[in-house]
Symmetry: C2
Subunit: 410 residues, 2 copies
């Protein structure tokens, strides 16, 4: 579906009258980034002139101010371009807050009082699945063992899986080489892109399964290629390779379709994963209510930043579904590692069937790139939300005046 | 929720090298219209330079080209700003086509062969609810009596209801006067806005029900104010006024929430209506599959123009749920009347529990404004899709250079 991505981002910098700045972004596939930038500019009037304390002192109120502006909510509400822009702006606010506190974002969250955490969440439209009291209760219960889990993460990091080995159409030799390298670097979980050609899918799944052996995990990802019945029949033909999940089998809006696919594939031991294009907490709520997914793939830029991701992680915990974040693109790994660290330390306290996506791509553009050791995300130590870009990268790739664009246009 | 709308539109004009032009629009509530315009500009590259024949000769392909551009679909897919822009562009294409054929749009559709109709629809992601063959079958069956229904519409028009009488907070005297006037003009169906204050809702519903008597219809509209359980308890307290439907009781994304509300209110004889912010055919499919609505409120600018509305009308027919379009705003009445005429003549062949919203507002800005007679939409006779604006209105209200804006900004 996304055949020629030109990884891009709408990049937000918040200047303050102190020395601290906030950096945020939302990821895009190229064309249309200027539309998101236009939306960011439209939202900026709601941010400029406010003090950080005013914002974070009533973060739920501020979230709703941005996501429910009485005129702009017609453009969503809480979906598409306007919500991607909301994410970019709020990511910058969270970065600013963490920097002001001198902590990496995950640590800011981990050190917050459960009451303060829930005060950041807008529970509108989800109280039939999770009330504020239930959320608070989850967070209070998970206080036990929190310090231990934090130490554990600092030592071992959070488990990751790789998507870099088996894109569509890779020839055998390339697959083998990538797999050998990944195995040597300690990777145990591999994702294969499927859905364009069944025979090619069978060839690549067979080769990868042979290479990684029966104990390692294999996941498959269709990027929304199929209708419901086609998804079921196609994935059934790949069952022999024992995929842990099929990701995005159909439209990201199709909750009932995902539920039908989940039900059909459960006897084969294959779960359904989705979320990178699930546009808000109301949609995730229903995916959970309908048992339409077995793996929740939160995204740091699709949902309304940390605020809305907190709601989804807490709902996932209540419904006993593991969170396995989407990452890759530009900056998604840098951002989402903070959220999944918080999820483990303060919500789920569980690592079984849990892992965070990793793609080894474009990290050089960030001042604090992710650190992967032995196929684990090592907790970032620098203050902030890790999405400040290197100045020379911004200058070079800025549209339309950056050198990279001038060359391309010429 | 939409407390201070400043009715606006992103207005598209397609120029051709013949004398014919195409006019299309999408409605907005004010702020953010420039974001939609930015998205229209991004889509325009997919339209400019094509011949009308190339487009309508493979309209399904063209719909998918616009709605599934491999980079821009990340911004949706098929939702929010990018889909509103798709609607504006495609509305202009349909207008152009109808003008080129010298027919009002509804008549262009009515005269089309069933095969040609289905060739305009993208069935991706809805085949589990409606296949191309089923759609064709519905259209072929409805050929019977088509000419008779067309004549009937030309004589009597399509039944409408009014939303102009009972907005939030109107005092008794104003309500009475508006109601008296409407009754005298032949209106039999009335919508009341609710959800801000229960006592005020009771006062206004009682007064309207008293004024219109037991035989006329009363509908209530909450504009997404409530969570699920609040919706059920609030509406139950208004049951004594026998509303036909409660409209938008909660988040427009909450299919399962609407299903729960539908189930709870069915014993009270109150249906659930929604759709003005239902963003695409995949969502409508699920609302129908889950029995989550009893009235389908299509919108001419939220969905991907005529193409996607055809899919929704055909699904509604299969699931035996009446279509009662959303209108009002700017130009929505002008546009959607064409669709509901087609629905009656070529799909549903049924008028029971069916009506099209009408708001007496801003029609003076259109070259072919709607014609209401005895509370019925009279079929438009001028070629096109009725959304060409009067030139002086465009000049005056164009942002930011129009006189109206210059005065406002000064």
């Amino acid at each position: 579906m996304h055949t020629d991505p030109d990884y891009s981002a709408a990049y937000v910098v918040i200047n303050t009258d102190s020395n601290v700045k906030g950096f945020g972004l939302t990821f895009t596939l190229g064309k249309g980034t200027d539309i998101v930038v236009c939306a960011v500019k439209a939202l900026s009037g709601l941010v400029i002139g406010k003090s950080l304390q005013d914002i974070v002192g009533d973060f739920r109120g501020f979230y709703r101010l941005l996501s429910s502006d009485s005129q702009m909510r017609w453009l969503g509400p809480e979906k598409g371009v306007i919500h991607l822009a909301t994410a970019a702006v709020l990511n910058a606010v969270w970065d600013l807050w963490a920097r002001a506190e001198g902590k990496p974002l995950w640590k800011l969250l981990v050190d917050m009082d459960p009451k303060q955490i829930v005060s950041c969440i807008d529970f509108r439209y989800i109280t039939d699945a999770l009330t504020e009291e239930e959320a608070l209760d989850i967070l209070i219960k998970a206080q036990e063992g929190k310090r231990h889990r934090e130490e554990q993460m600092l030592k071992q990091g959070y488990p990751a899986y790789t998507t870099s080995c088996a894109w569509l159409g890779y020839p055998d030799e390339q697959l083998k080489q990538l797999c050998r390298d990944a195995l040597q670097s300690g990777w145990t979980k591999y994702k294969v892109k499927v859905g364009a050609d069944l025979q090619d899918d069978i060839r690549r799944c067979r080769l990868i399964r042979d290479m990684i052996g029966p104990r390692n995990s294999l996941m498959i990802d269709a990027n929304q290629r199929w209708d419901v019945s086609e998804a079921i029949s196609w994935v059934s033909k790949l069952a022999e390779f024992r995929p842990l999940w099929i990701e995005e089998p159909t439209s990201p809006d199709d909750i009932l379709g995902h539920a039908a696919i989940s039900k059909a594939l459960a006897p084969l031991g294959i779960g359904v994963a989705t979320g990178e294009q699930c546009h808000n907490r109301v949609m995730f709520k229903q995916f959970l209510q309908a048992s339409a997914l077995q793996f929740v793939q939160i995204d740091s830029c699709r949902l309304g930043s940390v605020n809305e991701n907190l709601a989804v992680m807490l709902m996932a915990h209540k419904f006993k579904v593991p969170v396995c974040p989407h990452a890759g693109g530009v900056g998604l790994c840098e951002l989402v590692q903070h959220l999944i660290l918080f999820d483990y330390i303060c919500v789920s306290a569980d690592l079984s069937n849990r892992m965070c996506e990793y793609v080894d791509h474009l990290h050089e553009h960030f001042t604090c790139p992710v650190l992967i050791e032995n196929a684990h995300y090592m907790p970032p130590k620098s203050p902030g939300y890790s999405c400040e870009m290197v100045e020379s990268s911004v200058l070079k790739h800025q549209y339309p005046d950056g050198e990279a664009w001038k060359t391309k246009i010429a």
